[in-house]
Structure formats: structure tokens, C-alpha cells
């Protein structure tokens, strides 16, 4: 940026604006494959180290290299970690999108950009800082081949200076990110400093945004939901994992492999207390899971919508033959290949009823990384207790983005391996039937190969309580009714909803999964801006329990907030609620592929409540997509 640019900008109103401390969002626009991930993580972590609540979201294309990608970091002193639609601080590194990125900014925003992009003439209501990245990188990295890798670190240095992030913290964050690669760390530190120095000597600050130390993040961790779930699986004692790579679930199995190789190798023998198989497809993945759990192992797979579609027939087999299976569905945007790298909650109906005939499945819905961890463990208990598939319904936003969280606590208490027949139990029962409802809860006792107890023939064809082949109408009905009874028993065992009843609220929100953070923020907005009070029912499991109708009864109108087009959760609820209750249900639907944000919820609810809604901010992220899905 030339000195005249600066001088001109000094005249602008934006500079007089009040300081905005620890409450703004930064968007870094780059090209995927350019190695910006490290720089973004360092920026994110250094803000966390400043004690400021922070969240990071990656909006990336389904592509290996060359397409636009955006990383958004939100600092929020109030602890809001949902996506914010508005961008306050833009780092424009991508020639292809820079112009549009700048044009869609809110007035008063700031832009750090790569000098050759010549963006400063585009608007006069935002602040521009031009940085000659190529020149700077040349000075810290003589080897031209390595420049691409450290170039992005320069904007971290610039931002450190402009936002007031301590450089020493950034260096620590960098060391954490890069691990033991001393040479790489040194080179990146050089780039950081070059950026910092350049900003220090060249720029006068004209934007209002600043990071100041807080004390809100002591002891907190930063982790992706997929890694959190993986830790949960390991702690649950999973022994057999079968998977087929697919975004956004791959990193669940990949981090699991990493953790297991470290913590699940027998010290004495050097042998693994687990097996991971990369199967030939998702059909085979689930087949292996079913075979393994049928033989008594704790077993799981992870996939996304296309994989779930393929698993249909096996899911029905597991339901009907009653074998445990833990299936993580890290949801992405469908239908079909859809937007493979964007988030959605669009597999609910498909998972709930996956397979033909009268089939229904248990679903768990974690909202946080901590719940990804705890519910992973619960999923194994429930799958074995109910001898049935359990779907853990995550999404890309949760699975692949880094979230701030309290550290996870070590599981206490034993695991539940379900009703396994023992010699004593057999004596007590006198006679054993594989599908006999001994206890009245619909859950039969099972044996596994090699346990020396009575064997049975497992089949997906009609069978009676003894497990024998049967096409008799009464056997069929009896068995199906027992399965329904078993499903009813599960209502009391899936994670209970978290309910915040507000006695002043006439409307209630129902949400689940990652919508949670935007919902909480929206509830605050509604009170602060329009004095609309709400209650909140955060659903965590399916089948529903009796808390649901009670919540509906306590309110005049219910907004079910979900990230899909067809109000899938509302459809599920309609199946069980009375017509009077159903008449209270409304929807807030968000399905652009971007994580849901508070403003969208607030505006939508206000509009439905009959308020004038000022304006709709448009979100800007558009990327081509090809390959790599």
C-alpha cells in the first residue's frame, strides 16, 4: 500500500469507529492446496492462548488443489462459537475471489491483501492494508521451492501486529502446530516476524478490531469432532474397525488409527488389541462390522451419506438378525454426491429408517466435541445392549472443524456389553431361545461363536423366538412386535434432551447437533433485540422420550431448527406426536451447506412471528467443485 493510499484512508469514518475488542470474525481467502491450513491453525490457537473464546471454520472445495477456500475465525468474548455470517476482517490471498470477497464485506471491515491484487480502489468504506507477500517471502526463504509453504505465515505476522496478538504466543502456537520439525519451525518463525515487522513499520492502524487478553480459555483444548469421536471409540474399547474413505468422515478413522497405534499396542508382544480394515466399499464395511459384532467384538464404521445409502440392506439385516453395529454418519450435503465438503443434517430420515420393511434405528446426536467423545462411548453400550445398529449423527461442521472445549474426562464405571447368555443364566432359564423376550423389555439373550454356549443360526429371513426359520404369520408378528417393544425400551436409554424451560417463553426452540451454538446465540439476540423469550429443547437421541410432548405442551409454538430442506426432524416428530401437538410445530430450515448462524435463525423466527425483519445478509461462499469426493 502506498503512503497516499494510507493518507486517503485516514480521512475515513471507519477509523473513528469505536474499538471492537474480542468480538469479530476474520476470513482468510486462499486457494486450496496452498498450505494455508497451518497459518490458520496458528492464528486460531494464538487467539485461544490469549484467553479469548474462539472458533474456526473451514469452507473448502471438494478438490485437491487450485480452488478457492475460506477459513473463518471468530473471536467472541461472550463465548459464541457458531459461524457468523458477517466478515469483519478479510485476508485476501486468492486472485480469483478477491474482488467479490471485498465487495460483499460490511462497511467498516478491514482487508489485508496481496499487493498485486490492487484491491484498494474497490471501495472507500473499508480499510485496506496492502502486503507485498512475494517480496517478503523472498527475504525469509531463499529456497524458491519452499516459499509456497511459508508465504501464508506472513499474514499471521501482519495480523498479530494489527490485532495485537502477542508474537511470542504465535510462535508457541506455531511450535505446537509443527511439532518437532525444527528447521520448518525456524523458517516459519522468520516469516511470522517478517510480517510483523512489515506491519509495524508500514501501517498505521485504521480499523477498530483488536484482540486483548482475557481469561476464558484456561485448560481448554482445540479439537475436531472426528478426533474427539475417535478418542471416544478407543476409550469404549473398540476392537474391530472397518471403513471406506469418504469426506467428511475419513479423519475419524484416520485419527482413530493414529491413537490406536499409539495407545492400543500390547507392550509385551508389540501386537495390536484392535484391527482396522480399509474395506472395498461401505457395504463391506458394514458387513465386516456386523460379522465382528456377531462374533462378540466391539465394532464400528464411519461414513457419510453416500455410504449410508449403500449400507441399507445390511442395516436391515443387523436390525432384524439383531447384531450390534456402531455407525458414525458424518453428514454432508446431499442428495447424491451433493456438496461433499459442506455441512448438513440431511440424513436423519434415511438413517432412522435405513433399509426396507419395518426397520428403525437408534440415533445419537452430539452437538459438541465433548459429546462426540462421550456419545461415541455410549453408542457402543447401546449397540450391545439393544443388539442393533446405532447411528451417531455428526456433521461436517462438527467433525472437521476445530472446536474449543473443556478437556475430556476419563470414563468411569464399566461398559455395558448387553445381555450375553452365560452358563448360569442358561441353567436359570432352563431353555434358551435366541429371540425370546425373557425379561419383557424386548431384548433377548445372545451367544457368540466360540463361547461354548448353545449355537444358533443367524438369518435375515423370517424366524421364530428360537431362531428357527419360520414363515408363520404369528411368529412373524410376534417377533416384529417384540422388536418394536425393544425400540420402546431404548427411549429411556438414549441420551436425554437438555431442556431449558423459560417460564416467560411462549415459543420453544427444538434443535440438535451443531445448530446448538447458533441457537443459543439467537436466543440471546431475540431477547436483547426484540424481547422475545424462548425455551430450548436440545434433542440428543432418537427414539424420542416423554420429555418431547411435555415440551410441546408447555409452549404455544415450537420452532424446530434443522440444517436440511425437508424438515426431516419435524417429519420424525410428526409420526409420534398427537395432531394438536403437531399443529404447533414450525420450522427454521438452513441448507446452504454453510454452518447455520444465529442471525439467520433470529431473522427467520422474527419473520414467522410477524416482526419486520430489517435485511437479510447474504453469505458469500461459492466454490467450484471437482474430483476428490
Amino acid at each position: 500500500m502506498s503512503p497516499t493510499d494510507l493518507a486517503a484512508q485516514e480521512q475515513r469514518k471507519t477509523a473513528d469507529k469505536q474499538r471492537v475488542v474480542n468480538d469479530f470474525s476474520i476470513q482468510v481467502a486462499t486457494v486450496n492446496g496452498s498450505g494455508s491450513q497451518t497459518a490458520n491453525m496458528v492464528l486460531l490457537r494464538s487467539i485461544l492462548m490469549m484467553g479469548v473464546p474462539v472458533s474456526g471454520k473451514n469452507m473448502f472445495p471438494s478438490n485437491i488443489a487450485g480452488l478457492p477456500t475460506w477459513y473463518t475465525i471468530r473471536a467472541s468474548k461472550r463465548g459464541y462459537i457458531a459461524r457468523r455470517k458477517e466478515v469483519d476482517f478479510l485476508v485476501a490471498m486468492n486472485a480469483e475471489t478477491a474482488k467479490e470477497d471485498v465487495l460483499t464485506l460490511e462497511p467498516g471491515a478491514a482487508v489485508v491483501y496481496d499487493e498485486p491484487l490492487k484491491l484498494s480502489g474497490l471501495r472507500n468504506d473499508v480499510v485496506f492494508y496492502a502486503v507485498p507477500f512475494d517480496k517478503l517471502v523472498g527475504s525469509v526463504c531463499p529456497d524458491a521451492k519452499l516459499r509456497r509453504l511459508v508465504r501464508n505465515m506472513i499474514y499471521d505476522g501482519i495480523l498479530a501486529r494489527l490485532l495485537g496478538i502477542e508474537l511470542s504466543l504465535m510462535e508457541r502456537a506455531l511450535a505446537k502446530q509443527m511439532g518437532k520439525k525444527a528447521k520448518a519451525v525456524a523458517m516459519n518463525v522468520g516469516a511470522l516476524k517478517a510480517g510483523f515487522d512489515y506491519a509495524q513499520t508500514t501501517f498505521t492502524k485504521h480499523d477498530p478490531y483488536a484482540i486483548e487478553p482475557m481469561n476464558e480459555t484456561a485448560g481448554k483444548i482445540l479439537i475436531e469432532g472426528n478426533a474427539a469421536a475417535a478418542i471416544g471409540c478407543m476409550m469404549a474399547g473398540v476392537t474391530v474397525v472397518a471403513w471406506y474413505p469418504i469426506t467428511p468422515s475419513s479423519s475419524l478413522c484416520e485419527s482413530l488409527i493414529g491413537y490406536m497405534k499409539k495407545y492400543r499396542i500390547d507392550k509385551e508382544t508389540g501386537k495390536a488389541t484392535f484391527a482396522v480394515v480399509q474395506a472395498e466399499d461401505e457395504i463391506a464395511s458394514l458387513g465386516m462390522v456386523i460379522g465382528a459384532s456377531w462374533a462378540g467384538a466391539r465394532s464400528m464404521t464411519a461414513t457419510a451419506g453416500p455410504g449410508i445409502s449403500l449400507m441399507g440392506e445390511f442395516a436391515g439385516l443387523a436390525y432384524y438378525a439383531e447384531t450390534p453395529a456402531v455407525i458414525f454418519d458424518v453428514q454432508r450435503v446431499g442428495p447424491s454426491t451433493g456438496l461433499p465438503t459442506r455441512t448438513a443434517q440431511g440424513d436423519l430420515l434415511q438413517a432412522a429408517f435405513l433399509s426396507h420393511g419395518d426397520t428403525k434405528h437408534i440415533m445419537l446426536m452430539p452437538a459438541t466435541v465433548e459429546e462426540s467423545y462421550t456419545m461415541a462411548m455410549q453408542a457402543f453400550d447401546l449397540a450391545e445392549l439393544f443388539q442393533t445398529p446405532v447411528f451417531v449423527m455428526m456433521d461436517l461442521d462438527l467433525g472437521m472443524n476445530n472446536w474449543m472445549s473443556d478437556a475430556f474426562t476419563y470414563p468411569t464405571g464399566p461398559i455395558n456389553r448387553g445381555k450375553r447368555l452365560t452358563a448360569e443364566k442358561l441353567k436359570e432359564l432352563g431353555e434358551w431361545g435366541r429371540y425370546k423376550d425373557v425379561d419383557g423389555d424386548g431384548i433377548p439373550y445372545r451367544t457368540v461363536p466360540g463361547d461354548n454356549l448353545p449355537a444358533y443360526f443367524t438369518r435375515g429371513s423370517g424366524h421364530n423366538a428360537k431362531g428357527q426359520y419360520s414363515e408363520r404369520p404369528d411368529d412373524y408378528v410376534e417377533n416384529m412386535d417384540r422388536l418394536a417393544r425393544k425400540f420402546d425400551t431404548a427411549r429411556a436409554h438414549v441420551p436425554k434432551p437438555v431442556v431449558q424451560l423459560n417460564p416467560e417463553a411462549r415459543i420453544g426452540f427444538i434443535g440438535f447437533g451443531t445448530s446448538h451454538f447458533a441457537i443459543e446465540e439467537s436466543r440471546d439476540q431475540l431477547v436483547e433485540e426484540t424481547r422475545v423469550e424462548t425455551s430450548y429443547f436440545r434433542l440428543r437421541g432418537y427414539p424420542f422420550n416423554e420429555d418431547l410432548p411435555a415440551f410441546v405442551d408447555a409452549h404455544e409454538r415450537i420452532y424446530i431448527i434443522e440444517q436440511n430442506r425437508d424438515a426431516q426432524m419435524r417429519q420424525l416428530m410428526k409420526l409420534e406426536l398427537s395432531p394438536e401437538r403437531v399443529s404447533k410445530l414450525r420450522s427454521v430450515l438452513h441448507y446452504s451447506g454453510l454452518p447455520i448462524d444465529a442471525r439467520s435463525i433470529t431473522d427467520d423466527v422474527l419473520a414467522q412471528e410477524g416482526f419486520e425483519v430489517a435485511k437479510k445478509t447474504v453469505s458469500r461462499v461459492s466454490a467450484g467443485s471437482a474430483g476428490g469426493e
Binding site: Y263, A272, M288, I290, G296, V448, P449, A455
Partner: protein, 341 residues
Amino acid sequence: MAPIKVNRIGLEPQVYKGGKTTLCAGCGHNSISERIIDAFYEMGVDPKQVVKLSGIGCSSKSPAYFLGSSHGFNAVHGRMPSVGTGAMIANQKLIAIGISGDGDTGAIGIGQFVHLMRRNLPIIYIIEDNGCYGLTKGQFSPTADVGSTLKTGVVNDLPPIDTCALAVQLGATFVGRSFSGDKKQLLSLLKAALAHRGTVMLDVISPCVTFNDHEGSTKSYAYAKEHDDPVEDMTFVPFFEDISVDYEPGSLQEVTMHDGSKLLLKKLEEDYDPTDKLNAMKRLHESARRGEFATGLIYIEPDRDDFLTQLNIVDEPLAGLPLARTRPGPEALEEIMEGLR
């Protein structure tokens, strides 16, 4: 009363029987079930350790008709290999036998079949091959030969899949072909299969008397009897039996199996070495070109690591590991958390 006949682990033949068959009288699949019963009895396999797996089809029903005291899993059409793989990983002490059909394997299940062969999972995988879909009433299957006809006169124009050639090429370590009507050869192959560690793939021509036993079928009893082309004369000597066989010197190839059992292979009209992959492929194609089918032990690789060995899992079954061994301690979690701060 005569003493009750028992095998080497003290079990009566009765224990190895299964439920009464519901397949058509004369169906080749029933003869294969009988040979399986004989082989498991004679080898003294503990039925409690056996898992029987299958897909869907008349053939896939047959695990209900042998080894009634073993666990069985009649899975979904074409996908038994994955279920078997999961079960064997969960408990590598099990002995797995999978029964499939030519449709179950060659059509809907070809993908899982291919990957099963590649992995060399310890399993005995049998295709009861009748060249048609029995259970859905006689349509052609992918193993039907070019020019063979349905009862209705419809002619098959597509080349068959040779499951043995596929298995050899893909990495199965024991590949054989037989005919449900050849009691001696099939029994020897099955017993040898039990002595092998790795994937055993047996394609057994097993005529469907109801839909594919007519003139014009190349999978009928008559056709099979006439066109059976054995590659060798095989004698199986289990490790627990001490048998000496007299053969002319030089006419005999001896193969030592995983459990110490021996296969004595007597050469027929031409040299056949079943440990030579190229030779095996050549012979399969040569027989097919003559309109015959090569039977016997087509290929064996006795020493290759099986899939479970490659996975490097602990010696005890994974399914039975106590939580103390499958849940890392609090210090592990703390270390992970520290890395994330």
C-alpha cells in the same frame, strides 16, 4: 451293542449333521453338504469353533443342513465375505466355512469375492456352481458357458467367469475345482482345505436338477461326468494319520500343509505342478478351450501369511479382550488432552 463310532476328538458323526434339507431331491448342493459333514468329522474339527457363513440362494441355505451345533450366519445376497471377514477378525480361533452360489459370487457378490481372495482370509469358500440362479427359478448366472441353453431354449451369449482363474490371479492360496458327484475327490479337497491356513476357494459343479440339468446345459450331471478333467490324482494324509502310499518314484509330488498334513499328488497324463501359478492359469484355460473343466487341486501356496497374521493382532480373540486391555489408562487421555491445549 457295537461301540459307537467316534472321531479323534471323541465326537459321533451325528454331531456333524444339520437340519433336514429343504432343497430339491437330487440337488448337487445336498451332496456337497454330505461331503462337508464327512470331512469335518474325519478331520476331527470341533463344531463349537466353526462358523458357517453364506449369502442368499439355494446353495446359501445349505449351512442349515450340516454342522447343526455350529453357529451359522445366512447373510445377504453376495455379501457373505465381509461378514466372514469381520467374524474372523473378531475371533481368529474360529474355523470359517462359507457357502455361496455362482450367482451369489459371480454376479452380485463379485466385488466382495475379489477382495476376499486378495486378503487371503482364513476361510473355506465354496461356490456351489450350477450355472444358474436356482432360488429365483433358473435364470442364467455369470458362470454359464457360452452356448449353453436354458430349459426354455434361451441361449447364453456371454463368456463365463472362471472363478478358479480369478481366485488364482487374485491371491487365494488354495484353489480347487470339483464336482458334487465325485465323492472321493471332493472329500480329499475338503479335508486338505481344513489343513490349510488362508483362503481356500473351491468351485464345485453342483447340478440344479430342477432348472439346469437338461441337454444343452453344460452344468448338468451328464455333462459334468463326461467333461471332468482331473489335473492329478490326489491323496490327502492328515497330520494325525500315519499312512504310507506306494507310488512309482518320480511320479509323485508331495506338498506339506500348514498343520503338518500332507498332500500326495500323483501325476496323470502330463506334468502338473499346483504350486506354479502360471501353470495353473494355463491349465484352466486349456481345459476350458476343450469344453472340459479342470478339477482337483488347481493351485496351492502353503506358506503365505494370511490376512489375520498381517493384521498383527494379539493372540487372544479380540472379541474376548477385557476392558483393561482395550481401554487405555487416564494418563493416555491426559497426554492426548495436553497435546490439544
